[in-house]
């Protein structure tokens, strides 16, 4: 039987497709989607709508979309990384524990599994970001009327959320390659993140020269990022991109060395 082995990109595509099937057609994925949509509906109803109503009552002269999307951004900036630590923790860990990774390794490479699962999580999280940004935009239109700058605001905010989320997904890819369960990966992520930020913040208090080391920790630029507006926000994009590259290189190294 002559069968052409799929290329790296094709194999990654097959893995991504499978992860989308898990999200949309498995019980676990359905529960996750339901919980997320329910949570976001509450956010829209009690936070975004209230902000919008408040603006309408005040007869605010400023662009409504600035305030609404600033609220959206500040919620999403913490919501998505937090969700990611739980949801993206199971990229390869459970498969390693069950032995399913052994079945996968007979037909594809460790790189395909590692990067395929990482990119699948990126795609899934980006779909959720798109959903939240679009629903916020549509709600804004419903209450305040169509506004072109709202579309631009939605794009900038959603893109920045997407960027800051990357190192968190990469961190979970690395930890998932290191541990046998998502629980271990999640606990380790919380420990590593809080300990690293605590230690670096503590040291930088006495030795300000080490302050730039904070940029090694995913999310440490959040407070600075919140102060920026519009396209200026992209000026900090290099931080999550570099963090992601470093974490993926380390994760790939671990994936290649680890026993399955």
């Amino acid at each position: 039987m002559s069968i052409q082995a799929p290329s790296f990109i094709q194999s990654v595509g097959i893995i991504i497709q499978q992860e989308f099937q898990r999200l949309f057609f498995s019980r676990q994925g359905g529960l996750y989607l339901f919980a997320f949509i329910f949570f976001w509906a509450l956010m829209l109803r009690y936070v975004i709508v209230n902000v919008s109503n408040f603006l309408a009552q005040q007869g605010a002269q400023t662009d409504w979309s600035d305030t609404v999307f600033s609220t959206y951004f500040n919620i999403s900036l913490y919501l998505f990384p937090l969700l990611c630590i739980f949801i993206a923790a199971n990229q390869t860990g459970a498969d390693r524990e069950r032995g399913t990774l052994r079945l996968l390794l007979m037909r594809t490479s460790r790189d395909v599994i590692f990067f395929g699962r990482f990119l699948a999580q990126v795609c899934i999280q980006y779909c959720l970001i798109l959903f939240t940004a679009t629903s916020t935009l549509l709600l804004g239109f419903y209450y305040q009327g169509f506004n072109l700058s709202a579309v631009s605001n939605a794009f900038i905010m959603a893109s920045n959320i997407a960027l800051v989320l990357l190192p968190f997904i990469a961190l979970m890819a690395l930890l998932s390659a290191s541990f046998k369960s998502s629980k271990q990966a999640t606990i380790s992520a919380a420990l590593i993140w809080s300990m690293a930020s605590g230690i670096i913040t503590g040291i930088s208090h006495y030795f300000p020269a080490v302050e730039p080391l904070k940029m090694l920790i995913p999310g440490m630029q959040f407070s600075s990022l919140s102060l920026l507006e519009g396209v200026e926000m992209f000026s900090m994009a290099y931080i999550p991109l570099l963090q992601t590259a470093a974490l993926l290189i380390a994760g790939r190294f671990i994936m290649h060395r680890s026993s399955v």
């Binding site: 069968i3 097959i14 499978q18 032995g99 594809t108």
Partner: protein, 300 residues
């Protein structure tokens, strides 16, 4: 043409404990190969190295001329790993289709291939069952089915019939025999009778060292006969058979089973003499094996 497997001076240690020690062997493609040894002998470690699940501490391994994990081996080498389980979130058909796609099948042929291998294992009525809905034996058969996707050149089976009922174990043995012309199987098992029926070459590991690499056809078959008789008093049988001129020795370690050593060079048709004696004495026999049983070869 490269040998199927070539291992040289393979060592594997876990935290200072030796799992494999200086293991070297070469296997050619063809008849199924048995991997035998007591618990903890290093069989699973050797399997894991061949499948690239773990890396050896030192030494080299080549499969079809490539190192384990090489892209060229993807889809060519397959395995039934010990205790590997399917993803509980997808039906077995969906998972096997996914594996087939990763091996290069397009979407529709991947589904057909999954159906084909599951049907080979008698699971055509359970295609859309989740793994947790299947019995242990069915899950085992599904796990063997995944190893057959795309007709790989080498399939490593770790205890393929453990936990299966006799009818299904027989089906799997028949299946292995029927496709062993295209696919070489390496079978790790404690069931020596099963291995004896399937395999011509035996790799015997003990305490991490390769003790024997037997090619059954090469041993002195003409000098041994193993006969399993029915309800014949042991001493009477021994005394009678000893009288046959070619017999050198006769031993019995198990009830009704005798290992006869004879002069094969001068009496190559000794088996016919033996059968005639059994017929003359009206002693029914259940089994006659030319040579020693695998158990005798390995443990006597």
């Amino acid at each position: 043409m490269s040998p199927l497997i070539e291992c040289q001076n393979l060592d594997k240690t876990y935290a200072g404990k030796t799992a494999l020690k200086n293991v070297s062997f070469t296997c050619q493609a063809g008849e199924p190969i048995a991997l035998v040894g007591p618990n903890g002998a290093g069989k699973t470690t050797l399997f894991s190295i061949l499948c690239d699940y773990i890396r050896p501490t030192s030494g080299s391994v080549k499969i079809l001329g490539f190192e384990p994990g090489d892209k060229a081996l993807l889809g060519q080498v397959s395995a039934l790993p010990q205790d590997a389980q399917f993803d509980p979130g997808f039906s077995i058909h969906s998972q096997l289709s996914f594996y087939a796609k990763l091996q290069g099948f397009k979407s529709a042929p991947a589904k057909q291939e999954a159906e084909r291998v599951l049907a080979l294992m008698g699971l055509e009525d359970n295609l859309h069952s989740l793994p947790n809905m299947l019995s242990h034996g069915m899950r085992k058969r599904a796990a063997i089915a995944q190893a057959l996707i795309g007709q790989p050149k080498l399939v490593l089976l770790d205890e393929p019939t453990a936990g299966l009922d006799p009818a299904n174990a027989k089906k799997i043995r028949q299946l292995i025999s029927s496709i062993s012309a295209e696919t070489t199987f390496i079978i790790s098992s404690h069931n020596l009778q099963e291995l004896e029926r399937l395999c011509n070459t035996v790799l015997y590991l003990e305490k991490g060292e390769l003790q024997q690499q037997n090619h059954s056809l090469e041993d002195s078959r003409e000098s041994f006969l193993t006969v399993h008789v029915q309800d014949v008093p042991q001493q009477v049988f021994i005394d009678e058979i000893k009288q046959l001129s070619a017999v050198k020795e006769i031993q019995s370690d198990q009830k009704n089973e005798f290992l006869i050593t004879y002069d094969g060079q001068n009496t190559p048709d000794f088996d016919q003499h033996l059968l005639k004696t059994l017929a003359d004495k009206n002693w029914p026999y259940r089994r006659l094996i030319k040579g020693k049983t695998l158990e005798e070869k390995l443990f006597s």
